[in-house]
Amino acid sequence: MSLLSILRHQRANWLGLLGGTLLVLLLVLAVAGPWLGLPDPTRGDLRARMLAPTISWTGLGSHPLGTDQLGRDILSRIIAGSRVTLTIAGSAVVLGGIVGVLLGLIAGYFGGWWDRILMRLVDIQLAFPLMLLALLVVAALGPSLHNLIAVLALTSWVRYARIIRGQVLTVREREFVQAVKAMGAGPVRILIRHVLPNVLTPALVVATLELARTIVLEAGLSFLGLGIQPPSPSWGRMLADGRTYIASAWWIITLPGLALMLTVLSVNLLGDWLRDWLDPRSERS
């Protein structure tokens, strides 16, 4: 597919483009966060507690999105929270992706017992509600950054493994794989050089959909108090804190939630577009 036709398609699907743009914007904000000159997200000012958002047509004001119950600036907390969320969810999706793709390759290519064991593992994991699995493991290991990434990766490898396995089943029968095999290439070489490149695009689609799910799961864990611990700001924790002040200061809880929703929405839009683009049969929406 030439670059022009990709671009043409991209223009046709403005929703996917919108999602991509929003996500890039969010990433830039998250990366540039510390250099934007915003107030310290972890330092409170008790004289400036629960100030309403001051953003308006005339200007931003000192706390554009208001302050929380400890007088911390909500805008800078949302941006700092996006760093935490994107780091955790991104790492988990990559880690889960590597494990899932690897297992899917092995199961799909070698079949037999490898395949049977993997598919039973997948069944076990699917019968385990993700939130409960994550809660249980975090409670056992403790809510550190590394543990959170590991737990979230643990909840996401299954989907990669299943999709990749299915893809490998068809790819391994194709002529070029048979040809390389006849030429005497070993399984590792065949898998890495010839099968893997052909299953990477579906893995990419799974990765975007998993990113959205992982972001929500991470926020859910933080919301239940088992996510990243204070003083690190996290969206889920901000929501849990804001619950107490729901009647007196709506912005504390509404705004981080909106940020969360917007992030998930943009990742979903991008994922949908990727999937449609790669699968010509599926309906373009």
């Binding site: 019968a127 509600p129 969360l260 998930v264 929406s285």
Partner: protein, 306 residues
């Protein structure tokens, strides 16, 4: 029972066994129950006595076998917190979760199905655009945030519905809507794209060509065939509803199994965690067996090919 259902049942049992095993291993990682059960400052002798009493002094493989054997008989031990059999505690909370998940699933199938079908039938119209937009937003809204927003609007601002609690239908509305949001959006989107796919198939063209009206074509040709992916997805979503209920139940103070398990994890009440997760997994497996059964009813091709 057809052969493939028997093998599915076997796979389901293995899955439940796996879940139970994982829960056992993880709860042993969580800490020593004897230390938690006795008041701080208990002597080492008292701790030892309790460990012997609970069977915690046995080697781990033997503890595991005892646990499996007892679990098979439905005995998950006494809840540390409630002092009653853990399974009873879980079963008491089951109706509340079943009611919530059932209501959410009903909303999802009814509203999601209707919206998805309308979007496919009135393709390219405003209806389709609105359904798609709302569904996209619905899939992106985290349930706990939606729940709190609904409380803020309908309970705090308008005062129409209670903020939480359990008992009357008014208590059910907000949690059910919250839990149903993602399911509804997913079903609407999937049914729409599935119907659009089927509508392009040759047999639909044939049906029109032989002079059938749109109503008959939709009921007999499009409807039935486009349901297959939706049924699969609904089975998976139903399982997620049970797990996802943990967060929704926490937001609304709904006395269900999800919240019970979350609390049991916090208080390290292992027997309740083990019993609760085992039951939820068993229900998930049962639901998916049911979905398999439904398939063979909807699509005779599957019956023949297996």
């Amino acid at each position: 029972m057809p052969a493939h259902l028997t093998s599915r049942l076997g796979e389901g049992l293995i899955a439940i066994w796996g879940v139970v095993t994982i829960v056992f291993v993880v709860s042993r990682l969580l800490g020593d129950p004897a230390v938690l059960l006795l008041p701080i400052g208990a002597s080492e002798a008292q701790l030892q006595e309790l460990r012997t009493q609970l069977g915690l002094d046995q080697p781990l493989p033997q503890q595991y076998l005892t646990f499996l054997f007892n679990a098979l008989r439905g005995d998950f031990g006494q809840s540390f917190q409630f002092g009653r059999p853990a399974l009873d505690v879980v079963f008491e909370r089951l109706p509340a979760t079943a009611m919530l998940a059932g209501a959410a699933l009903a909303i999802g199938i009814l509203i999601g199905g209707l919206a998805g079908a309308l979007a496919a039938i009135y393709r390219g119209s405003l209806i389709e655009a609105v359904v798609l937009l709302v569904a996209l937003l619905g899939q992106a809204t985290p349930s706990f945030w939606l729940g709190i927003m609904l409380i803020l609007f309908f309970a705090v601002q308008l005062g129409w519905l209670p903020t939480g609690g359990y008992g009357t239908w008014q208590n059910l509305v907000l949690p059910a809507v919250t839990l149903a949001c993602f399911t509804t959006a997913s079903i609407a989107r999937l049914l729409r794209s599935s119907m659009l796919d089927v509508m392009r198939d040759d047999y639909v063209r044939t049906a029109y060509a032989k002079g059938l009206g749109p109503r008959r074509v939709f009921t007999w040709h499009v409807g039935r065939n486009s349901l297959i992916p939706v049924v699969t997805m609904t089975g998976i979503l139903a399982g997620e509803l049970l797990g996802g209920a943990a967060v929704t139940e926490t937001v609304f103070g709904w006395p269900g199994v999800g919240r019970l398990i979350v609390q049991a994890i916090e208080t390290k009440d292992f027997p309740v965690v083990q019993a609760g997760v085992a039951i939820v997994a068993a229900i998930f497996v049962a639901v998916n067996l049911l979905v398999d059964l439904l398939y063979t009813l909807i699509d005779p091709r599957i019956r023949q090919s297996r």
